[in-house]
């Protein structure tokens, strides 16, 4: 009895000390988060947050995207959830000898509980053993990287293994041996708890809150950039250091366990560029820890993350899409770009003409704005101004975009789509000369000032004509006008042409030729990032193709839909040189050609340029079509 009470007193002291130290660390970490920028966009839409928490957090939706690591991690995670109950029982039992949940619940429930403790304990042990085996014997590519803390996982996995072994051993033994295992287990548990704040495995406690607080899967508009208040938000433009980042970006640093899924799907990284999204997140945490210790000698920008890394990003959002704990790597990259451009005017020199032209001529290319509507010559397509002059208002505004207006290849898509609209008797008009660049490239390149100028001018034009519905063949226009213009009071129903054509076809409004002997064609469809990952439009372009070509054999590339590889033109990359590594469009074109398809379909003028260029340089005779061209080619 005496030894028991001495033991429980001792244990109580240990528990209090352990939780005391842990709570000290929690406070320290919260203090570190408070160094970040105020961000109150993290508590809205609680149902959505709970849904994300359940889906992505509890049910491990994204973890399962990896068929090997997925079940392994889920076993450990769910095991931890179940075993935490056992640990609570054990700790309470250590403080108050003889404590058990048994008296408080019906016997079958307790039996079920006990069974699960053993089952999950075994599963965790198995999963951890497999993980250790995999770490040691196989060099899984995404787990490598000099920015990672490579020894930590071995320690942690062994630790978890030891936890399971001591747990089982304490259950299986009695007397002093039991006590020995019991204490070992208890100390390992409490030690584990207190080791976490000093390790990347802080992940274990931060992940679930991080998923809950994240906006990468909503709430709000997915992929929309934070609007800057250019009148007052000017102490620092964007972010130069961790203290300029949202506290949520700092929390991302704590949530990251360096699994490397982000980097493994990054088109820049895959083709040999310096950018490495995982490193960005690790850098944030490293720099934050130094800052918290009072080291102000370095900044996140330049000392940790270089310009070259930042400008390699295509903003394709694959990293964000892939992250199992909803980290937003992209927002850090984009805030740092803002600082480079707005604060210091530092950007690749070849971008200058694009900026200047957007400002002067409302298009990134130095074309005469007066020529914007030239493609429509002879097609009998009215402008909004002409319709307004006749006191008419069209059903939809066809927003053509700069590529669609000025690029010879994209103009074919423009004309094709216009023909479809006409064939379907859609009452539509264009803005002609009054349309300006949507500003997406400027915003993604960090030039918020130029972006807002363009966005506001465009909104003013749209408001003047009382526009309600906009259709566009450019995913960047689509994303901007639909998802980001609301930040400035522009609220429109924006539809991408693939979706619009599909709905017209579904309604039987598009008259197609009855070709009974249409040859079988094999197509592969390349997903646009701003259509897919930013807007979840995956099936419309595919369905459109199938409806247009009854004998279509649609083959998918290995990386498709939300795993689709970027063409390389997003995030302003269209206007930058690609000097390092393999060209992204080459990587993608090779993947498309490897499907054996005789045509590649796209639904974005930027993708069109990138894919067509690369296919052409391979002397391949595979055609690249926009989905609208495919449909227009079949019009009756």
């Amino acid at each position: 009895m005496g030894s028991w009470s001495a033991s429980s007193v001792l244990f109580t002291i240990v528990v209090v000390a352990a939780f005391g130290f842990f709570s000290y660390n929690v406070q320290r970490l919260v203090g570190e988060l408070q160094l970040g920028r105020h961000d109150d966009s993290r508590w809205n839409d609680l149902p959505r947050r709970f849904w994300n928490f359940l889906q992505i957090g509890i049910f491990q939706k994204k973890i399962f995207r990896d068929g090997v690591a997925g079940p392994m991690h889920a076993a450990i995670f769910w095991g931890f959830c179940v075993l935490t109950l056992g640990t609570i029982e054990m700790i309470l039992g250590g403080i108050a000898p003889g404590f058990s949940f048994a008296p408080y619940v019906p016997a079958p429930v307790y039996a079920f509980y006990e069974m699960n403790q053993n089952l999950w304990g075994a599963l965790v042990l198995a999963a951890v053993s497999f993980a250790l085996f995999r770490r040691i014997t196989k060099r899984v590519k995404r787990l490598q990287g000099k920015e990672t803390h490579a020894d930590d996982p071995l320690l942690i996995l062994s630790w978890i293994g030891a936890l399971m072994i001591t747990m089982f051993a304490s259950h299986a033994t009695t007397g002093i041996v039991h006590d020995l295992f019991w204490w070992s287990h208890a100390l390992l548990v409490l030690g584990f708890l207190n080791y976490l704040p000093y390790s990347k495995h802080l992940h274990v406690v931060v992940s679930l809150p991080n998923v809950f607080l994240s906006n990468t899967s909503g709430p709000g508009v997915i992929g929309a950039m934070r609007p800057m208040d250019l009148e007052s938000d000017i102490a620092v433009f964007g972010a130069k250091d961790v203290t300029d980042l949202s506290w949520k970006s700092l929390l991302d640093g704590f949530a990251c366990t360096e699994c490397g899924r982000c980097t493994s799907v990054c088109p820049a990284n895959l083709t040999g560029k310096l950018l490495n999204p995982r490193k960005i997140v690790i850098n944030v945490r490293e720099r934050l820890e130094a800052e918290a210790k009072g080291d102000h000698s370095k900044t996140l920008l330049d000392d940790f993350i270089t310009e070259e890394e930042l400008w390699s990003c295509t903003t394709c959002r694959a990293c964000v899409q892939e992250c199992p704990v909803s980290i937003d790597q992209l927002s850090v990259i984009l805030e740092l770009r803002r600082n480079l451009v707005l604060g210091e005017s530092r950007f690749p020199e070849e971008v200058m003409p694009a900026f200047e032209s957007m400002e002067q001529r409302g298009s990134p290319w130095a074309f005469d704005p007066g020529d914007r509507g030239k493609w429509a010559a002879g097609l009998d397509i009215p402008t909004m101004a002409e319709m307004a002059g006749r006191n008419q208002r069209p059903e939809v505004l066809y927003w053509v975009g700069c590529m669609g207006s000025f690029d010879d290849r994209a103009k074919k898509t423009t004309v094709a789509f216009a023909k479809i609209l006409k064939a379907a008797n859609v009452n539509f008009a264009i803005l002609g000369q009054e349309e300006k660049c949507n500003g997406d490239a400027a915003r993604r390149m960090g030039n918020e000032y130029l972006y807002q100028m363009l966005a506001k001018e465009n909104i003013e034009t749209l408001e003047r004509y009382g526009v309600k519905t906009v259709v566009t063949a450019c995913p960047h226009c689509f994303h901007q006008i639909g998802n980001e213009y609301p930040q400035f009071g522009g609220n429109y129903d924006v539809v991408h042409h693939s979706t619009y054509i599909e709905s017209l076809m579904a309604a039987g409004r598009v008259p197609l030729r009855d070709d009974l002997h249409e040859p079988v064609r094999t197509f592969t469809y390349h997903d646009s990032c701003y259509l897919g990952r930013y807007n979840d439009v995956y099936s419309a372009p595919r369905e459109t193709l199938k409806r247009a070509l009854p004998m279509l054999n649609l083959v998918e590339m290995p990386r498709s839909k939300d795993r689709g590889l970027c063409c390389g033109a997003g995030g302003g990359r269209m206007f930058m040189e690609e000097k390092v590594g393999k060209r992204i469009n080459a990587e993608r074109a090779e993947e498309a050609l490897a499907t054996g398809a005789d045509a590649i379909a796209v639904a974005c003028p930027f993708c069109m340029t990138m894919m067509a260029d690369s296919v052409k340089s391979r002397d391949s005779h595979v055609d690249v079509y926009d989905v609208a061209e495919v449909v227009a080619g079949r019009l009756a």
Partner: protein, 253 residues
């Protein structure tokens, strides 16, 4: 070092111009305006000179523009690039006589104690390339025109001017006037920080003391439409015809 840069506000040239009903001006509706190209190089070159000084803060870059109040926008742009202050010589009517313009500019520059007065080689709208030289003469200062390289060292300017298939190296003592050709420096893109700072920099407006105009604009017209491109032939047999056209029609051979 005290540097003055004379800048002009001109329309963006990448458009098809229309002639205003007056027949003596371009229709300005829908046009975007900016610093004339060569003047932009001059601003950049001036800023770089200032930055190269041992104590840049002791140097001053003053931008001066003649014209109606809209030129203030152009002056602000130069200040957003880094110029320290600006002077608008207010004159609302368009001017074409270089001598008349130079008279007004010289009146402002005189007594300004500038070490260096910088012009763009020419404005890209009226394209006369003579105002800077006349200003230098009126001020009694030496001028080096159309330079593509510039160094200032110990009260001495050394510069390079491109000729047809050749170049000259030129030396000249300060104070001096120089006019800037392309190739010297690409104008920096103003940061938002610069734009915000420019709003607070001093901009002084004075009436322009314009000289007599002896060079008057009678009319403006558009050149004949460029003939639509044509395919003159196929294969190497088309070469003689191409050479003939280059020689006789395009006059570039």
């Amino acid at each position: 070092m005290k540097i003055a840069v004379l800048i002009k506000r001109v329309p963006d040239m990448d458009v098809r111009f229309k002639i205003a009903p007056s027949g003596t001006a371009v229709d300005e509706s829908g046009l975007k305006f900016d610093i004339s190209d060569f003047d932009g190089y001059a601003v950049e070159a001036a800023l770089q000179l200032k930055e190269k000084q041992a104590d840049p803060a002791a140097s001053e870059v003053v931008v001066i523009s003649l014209g109606p109040d809209v030129v203030q926008e152009t002056l602000r742009k130069a200040m957003s690039m880094g110029a320290d202050r600006a002077v608008q010589l207010k004159h609302d009517a368009p001017l074409h006589d270089s001598y008349a313009i130079a008279t007004a500019l010289a009146a402002e520059l005189k007594g300004g104690a500038y070490d260096l007065v910088m012009f763009g080689r020419m404005s890209i709208d009226t394209a006369n390339q003579s105002t800077g030289t006349i200003v230098a003469e009126l001020l009694g200062l030496p001028i080096v025109t159309a330079i593509s390289q510039l160094t200032v060292n110990g009260g001495q300017v050394t510069a390079r001017r491109e000729l047809e298939g050749a170049y000259e190296l030129i030396a000249c003592p300060l104070p001096a006037v120089v006019s800037i050709d392309e190739g010297i420096a690409r104008p920096r893109y103003p940061s938002l920080k610069g734009i915000m700072a420019a709003k607070k920099k001093p901009l002084e407006t004075k009436p322009a003391q314009v000289g007599e105009e002896r060079y008057k604009l009678d009319k403006m017209e558009l050149p004949p439409e460029r003939a639509a491109g044509r395919i003159i032939g196929e294969g190497k047999d088309a070469v003689p015809e191409l050479v003939r056209l280059l020689k006789e029609e395009a006059k570039v051979l």
